[in-house]
Amino acid sequence: MNMNRKGLLAGIAFAAPATILFSVFVAYPFLQSIYYSFTQWDSIRPPVYTGLENYKELFKDSKMIQAFNNTLKMTIFGIVVQNPLALLLAVLLNRKFRTKAFLRTVFYMPVVVSLVVTSVVWGNILQYDGLVNYLLTQLGLESAVMDWLGNINTVFPTIILLTQWQALGYCAVIYLAGLQSIPQELYEASTIDGASGFRQFRYITFPLLMPVVTIVLFLTIVGGLKLFDLPYVMTNGGPGSASYTMTLAIYVAAFGNNTYGYATAAGIVLMIFIMIVTFLQLHFTRKQEVEA
């Protein structure tokens, strides 16, 4: 047997475990999902092919539409608010000051705390006789006291803010790493040329940071689209369907109603949505990237 052939066989042997695991537990179930999404299936009787019926149903289901809207809001908030905030925090944390290392740790801390625990703790803080309303009362703002998680208008904005609490530090640390990788000389040279702080940010920091922006946006978008734990534990999608997300709606469609084919179709729609959003985002941000 010649060396080349032997090398190839070794390569196949090395790649085999990952390939097999991935094929069996990710790729194959995914192909099945595509098939099931065109069927009516309650897991007791065998699936019955119904064509596009599930997909048509999805666009008539008011809970599903609410879930889709919420998920969309979450995504937009992630892009428009979370990212600039994380970047701002990173720029500030990149400056010189005594408590810097301590603050970096503190801002990252919630990332370690699970979404389940976040839901329990904040659920307690936000309940009617909880800390937030207590503080509002102490400050003389009784009019602002409300049932934050029980009110249709406040529940989802509150959940969005909680995702910020949990994820902001993660994004900021990645931005911080990006800021650290920008050569210091560029700033020195531009300072000599008389460029102001804002102009430096606009023409040096921001363009060079674009690859990191791409990564952080990708992470926030995908994370937001998959949000499940917070609404599941805190509100179970309620009140009504005010805090439904796509993933929660899929879960309920399956385990509440035993409509597996329908739930799988919703899963496929979610995946297509993720593909479109991330494709647009990558297309847009990659164009802005420059080489240092």
């Binding site: 090398g7 190839l8 070794a10 390569g11 196949i12 790649a15 475990p17 990952a18 390939t19 695991l21 991935f22 537990f25 990710v26 194959y28 179930p29 099945q32 099931y36 299936w41 500030l92 400056r95 010189k96 000051f97 408590t99 603050l103 503190v106 801002f107 990252y108 801390m109 370690v112 705390v113 699970s114 979404l115 389940v116 625990v117 976040t118 329990v120 703790v121 904040w122 006789d129 609490w165 902001l168 640390v173 990645i174 790493a177 800021l179 650290q180 050569p183 990564i215 995908v222 998959k226 499940f228 534990v233 796509m246 993933t247 899929i250 879960y251 799988t264 899963g267 979610l270 995946m271």
Partner: protein
């Protein structure tokens, strides 16, 4: 030559520092609140700002008596370590093969594995349930380990493949002249050089595996096999009365190990995260 140092930006003004410290309280306080409230007497529980007058441990006793927290802890630990062990082994081997093989098939394999990054868990949950039943893996911790490993393969293989570029080929060539077999060559020579990538794989996934709710919720049923997160959720659901104390105790028990791990290894952890995100 530019040395790698923790670059410093401009000096921050005192006002900036104070504002940052104030905002940081918003991030720190709920974590503090979690541990503090778990040690408060029931009658003080709804007096949010009151500190515990002494360490009241009965919430912990109650949590331990009502649910097998210790078993849950062991289950979570076993699943977490098992998954990390498997993912490091299979992904490093695959990354090595993809980076070193000239055959075009391996490039295609790379894209095939990468495609898994966009598939959400929820899309696959029912076929996986059936697969679990067919393979007699449903309601086992092994199934969880297999699912976590398979789900992490895209990211981890991507990372290892990229990292292999920084491992010089000469190392392998000289070793293979010495008559070192392919497997020994990989495990003894190449794998140790991949340590930074392994570190990144471990730190970017350990929290996700430990804190995951949906996978055990879907595929485990037996209370003796349950991990901590679904235990908390079920405990909360069973306790419709507003007895938050034991729930907070359970939350504290599940959070403390990760928090300690983070605080004591944060230097490496943040660096590993940076390698993963900026190079990836």
């Amino acid at each position: 030559m530019r040395t790698m140092r923790w670059q410093q930006g401009r000096q921050a003004s005192l006002a900036t520092e104070i504002v940052l410290i104030l905002i940081s309280l918003l991030f720190l306080y709920p974590v503090f609140y979690l541990f503090m409230a778990s040690l408060k007497r029931p009658e003080d529980f709804y007096n949010p700002l009151k500190l515990p007058s002494y360490l009241y441990v009965r919430h912990y006793a109650k949590a331990f008596s009502q649910i097998d927290v210790f078993q849950g802890f062991l289950n979570t630990l076993a699943v977490c370590i098992g998954s990390l062990f498997c993912i490091v082994i299979v992904a490093s081997m695959a990354g090595y093969a993809i980076a070193r093989q000239q055959n075009r098939g391996f490039q295609l394999l790379f894209y095939f594995l990468l495609s898994g990054m966009i598939i959400p868990v929820q899309t696959n949950m029912f076929p996986l349930f059936r697969l679990g039943v067919d393979l007699h893996l449903i309601d086992t911790r092994t199934f969880l380990i297999l699912l976590y490993t398979a789900g992490t393969i895209p990211f981890a293989t991507f990372l290892y493949t990229g990292f292999m570029k920084s491992v010089p080929r000469e190392v392998e060539e000289s070793a293979s002249i010495d008559g070192c077999g392919k497997f020994r060559l990989f495990w003894w020579i190449v794998f140790p050089l991949l340590l930074p990538a392994t570190g990144t794989v471990v730190i970017t996934n350990i929290f996700g595996f430990w804190n995951d709710l949906i996978t055990p919720l879907l595929y485990l049923k037996d209370p003796a096999k349950m991990t901590l997160m679904p235990q908390i959720v079920q405990f909360k659901a069973n306790n419709q009365s507003i007895d938050y104390g034991p729930i907070f105790a359970m939350c504290s028990i599940s959070t403390l190990p990760l928090l300690l791990l983070f605080v004591f290894t944060q230097k490496y952890m943040l660096r590993g995260l940076i390698v993963g995100s900026v190079k990836g």
